[in-house]
């Protein structure tokens, strides 16, 4: 898969970020991980990322803020939110900002893979 899809996984829990990344890598995706919002923005500034999969509640900034900031420089960025919490107002804001999917932890990994495939088909065909 040369024109592979690049994903950035952001979670302040490194194990969560790593295990998710390993699964996606095993499925053939190019995966970068980050454990903070700021680090994620740095990565986004340096590398091409198609899909941002981010935790919502994180110490330096929440997932929605991260998406909003990142999109300023990368308008086509696709974002999925992962949440263990029911932070309804943040999630609602995420919906409004254009987050494509909200996944609850523990992740339904089959659903995640389906969502990624759908994003690849609908959005990334021309982008890549």
């Amino acid at each position: 898969m040369s024109a592979s899809t690049h994903l950035l996984i952001v979670d302040d829990n490194p194990s969560m970020a790593k295990t998710t990344a390993d699964i996606l890598a095993l499925k053939g995706y190019v995966v970068r991980i980050s454990t903070s919002g700021q680090e994620a923005l740095d990565i986004l500034g340096q590398e091409k990322i198609h899909i941002l999969l981010t935790d919502v509640i994180m110490p330096d900034m929440n997932g929605v803020e991260l998406f909003v900031q990142a999109r300023k420089r990368h308008p086509g960025l696709i974002a999925f939110l992962m949440t263990a919490y029911s932070a309804d107002d943040i999630i609602r804001r995420g919906h409004l900002e254009g987050v494509k999917a909200i996944l609850t932890k523990p992740l339904d990994l089959n659903l995640l893979l389906m969502l990624i495939q759908a994003v690849e088909q609908d959005y990334l065909r021309g982008v890549r």
Binding site: M16, T19, L26, S86, K105, P106
Partner: protein, 1055 residues
Amino acid sequence: MSEGAKILVVDDDPLIVTATRRALETAGYKTLPAANGAGALETARREKPDLILLDINMPDMDGFEVCRRLKTDPELADIGIIIISSTYTDGENQANGLDLGADGYIARPISNRELVARVQALLRLREAERMAHAQRLYLQAVLDSVNDAIFVDDADTGQIIDVNKRCCEMYGYTYEEMLRVSIGDLSQGQPPYSQAEALQWLNKTRQEGPQVFEWLAKRKDGSLFWVEVGAHFVVIGGENRFVVAVRNITERKRIQEALRVSEERRRLAMMVANDGLWDWDLTNNEVYYDPRYYLMAGYEVDEFPHRLEEFQQRVHPDDLAYVMAEAQKHLEGQSDHFEVEFRFRRKNGGYMWIRGKGQIVARDEQGRPLRFVGTHSDISAHKQVEEALHASEERHRLISELMSDYIYSGLIFPDGSVQTEWVSGAFEPITGYSLEEVNQLPGGFTSLLFPEDLEGILKRRPRDAMATEYRIRRKDGQVRWLRDYMRMAARGDDKTPSRMIGAVLDITEQKLAEQALRASEETYRNLFHNAQVGMFRTRIADGKMLESNEQLAHVFGYDSREEFIAEYVTSHNYVDPGTRERMLEQIRRDGHIQNFEARFYRKDRSIFWARYSARIYPEQGWIEGVAEDITERKRAEEALRHHTERQALLLEASEALATSLKLPDILQTLTETAARLLDVGSTAIYLLEQGQLCLGATTPPLPPDFPDELRCAPPADHPHLIQAIRTASIVVLPDTLTAELTPAERAISEMRGLRTVVYLPLVGGEGVLGALILGSTDAPRTFSEDELASGRTLASQAALAIQNARLYAELEARVEERTRELREAQEKLVRQERLAVLGQLAGSVGHELRNPLAVINNAVYYLGLVLAQADPKVQEYLRTIEREVRTADKIINDLLDFARIKSVEREAIPAAELVRRVLERYPAPQNVRVTLDLLPDLPPLWVDARQIEQVLGNLVLNAYQAMKDGGRLTVDGGQLIVEDQPRVWIAVKDTGVGIPPENMGKLFEPLFTTKTQGIGLGLAISKRLAEANGGRIEVQSEPGKGTAFTLTLPTTKEG
């Protein structure tokens, strides 16, 4: 008297005569000559010489013969005789002369000087003897004339050595016998009147001086009599002597005793003066005066109204303030007793003396007196006697001070005038005159006598001794009664005065006492026969009626006292055995009884209450007293007592009723009180309850087999009771045996043994509540107005108490309901708060758990991918981890669901659709059959479909789990209206194990579970979801049979 004495000289020798006369006349004597015996006797008779000198040897008759003749002539016997002899000088002649009574013997020759000396000595001796004799005679006369017995005792031996004549008469012994008897022989003999006490008295006399005391003396014939003894100790001629004067005071004693008895009788008669009863109601100043009260003061019964003012108007104005002040003091508790004496106006306008007594008999709750009850006794007679007695005592005292006897001697001249020669010391205190003064009065002492008394004395034939009684007027004008024992000492003739001596007793006191006795006896006789009270005298031995007045005969039902006295014996006629014995014991002990009450049979064997007071006269063997019929009073007292008891009982009952608010207790108290209050064997309370008459309580309690249909019955079964209730008045059924009764009434009256039945309606503020029923058992009886009034009072108290109890019960129920609501609200609040805390905790824990869970989940997924070819055992373990992660996630989701109900998003959705979805999602296990039975045309639900699906899903899953061994699941539904709103209900029923009752209340609590799986949030969430949707969940369960959950939900039709 020796000087100038007359001496007769007798000798036949003239020379001796002449010589002797000269010698004697020289010595100063008068002489008379006689030459022979005959001349001597003649001269002696004529001249009464003091002394005769008698020659023995004379021619006509010798000197011895002359001497004999002289001594045997009473008129001459006193003349002294000296026999002179010249020839017969031997001793025999001398003795012969002296034997014949000669006083001396002279033998010649004798010198003239010696003769004169002998004559002088003899005359002196004779004079002394004469004086002594006269004195002895005088003393004897005095002693004999004194009314007292006089003893002279040897103080050292106790021997009686002399007594006077009166003493012999008094004791019935001769003088000689008197000198042989002892003091003990003359006494009654028993202490305190035996010889020992007598000697004590004498001893006292010897040591302390004269003593006066009363003594019970004994005559020779054994009879007894009272004396007053005055004892003196004197030394006479070196000898120790007691001189004892004894006066017979039997008469005085008798009169005193008679007077005392007579006074007592009078007092007895007055004692029964009937008391009037009064009863003062302090709340309105009404005073009840009983009939006697009116009669006592001479009014007709009820002549004046029963008001306090009526009493006050009749009290003497001078006494009113005192009487009312005493009453006030008592009512204010400042005095323990109320007793006043005052004057009260009789109908005839005169005043009578009243003694009033009273006491408070009722008080209100604050202790203020309500009723003041007492008696008024007529003490007028008592007052008068008291005054008279007072005066008489004063008189008695004065008299005793003055009284003392005196002795006198006096001369009565032929013209009747009296000259008193001598009087003893008490004369002046008695008469007020001295001896000189009395003799200066014309007529002397006799002028003091009342003329009629003097006349009476003069008419009597004078005797040597006589006793007379007469009145004198004292110098100060007072009248005195005197008894005079007079004795003629020397009788005069037409020219010479008679001499008399006497002893005079002042008997004024005795006379007055006799008069008083006569008056008193007269009064007593009048009282006895005219008294309005019965008077009697009965024999102690057997109670035989000895004397009675007409009044008493009538009381005992006899027409005449003669018949009564002839027939009546009280010992046969006491109704109550032992009463007479009790009375006798008391009267023997105290000497009298007062206000003794006993029941007697009348002539016709009817019974009445008598009250009597009496005194015992053991020596006469009888009892005397007064009696009255107090049957009426007893009845009135009994009625009053019953009334008072009933009042007390009512008070007690009302207190008991006031302290209880429990209807069963109150009803029980009421029936018990009613039974005691009116002394009936059976009582009951029926209450009107929902158109039925129901027994509330009974006394005695109902037997267990008492039929239920009699406990509660339609009104038609109890027409008498209903009549009392309808008319709100008392209905009396005189006798069940003769009355027309319904079968129910008949059954009850036979079971309870009722005869007379009284129905008292219980009239409360909101109409008649029921009735209180009183039944006499065994025999019919009548109920007095007073009793019915008491019953009515109790019934009205009962009605009030029942109303209060019902009101209380209602209030209690309301309070209970309100309390329950409050408790529920509070519990809900607590639960919600707890749930809120739990929710927060569950939320944060849940979220935090999701993170590690997510990592585990990822890790397992990864391992599944990379180990696809791995050992099947590894594969199985990976699946196990995966499954358990899912379970953990489900639990966390439940927790989060519970912690945060998501907002309700309503939509209209048919119930059938929801049920279908649920049954699709949770298909039934193999062993469970499902029955669906929802009514068609149910209005659509207006709910959050997902939430209600979750609820129904929970219920269905629970049902499956309750039927592990199979069963049937039924889901049905219908429509109902709750609070005017149409609702749809859906019930999920299983035939499972059911829920134990102890778990029902905790069923919807969070974290309550009986399952091994899950944490017990399912039903709690279901309930919260149902409530969030405006619905509710209820549960019914029976262990072993199954459980039904019913979900009620709002519909689109809701307004």
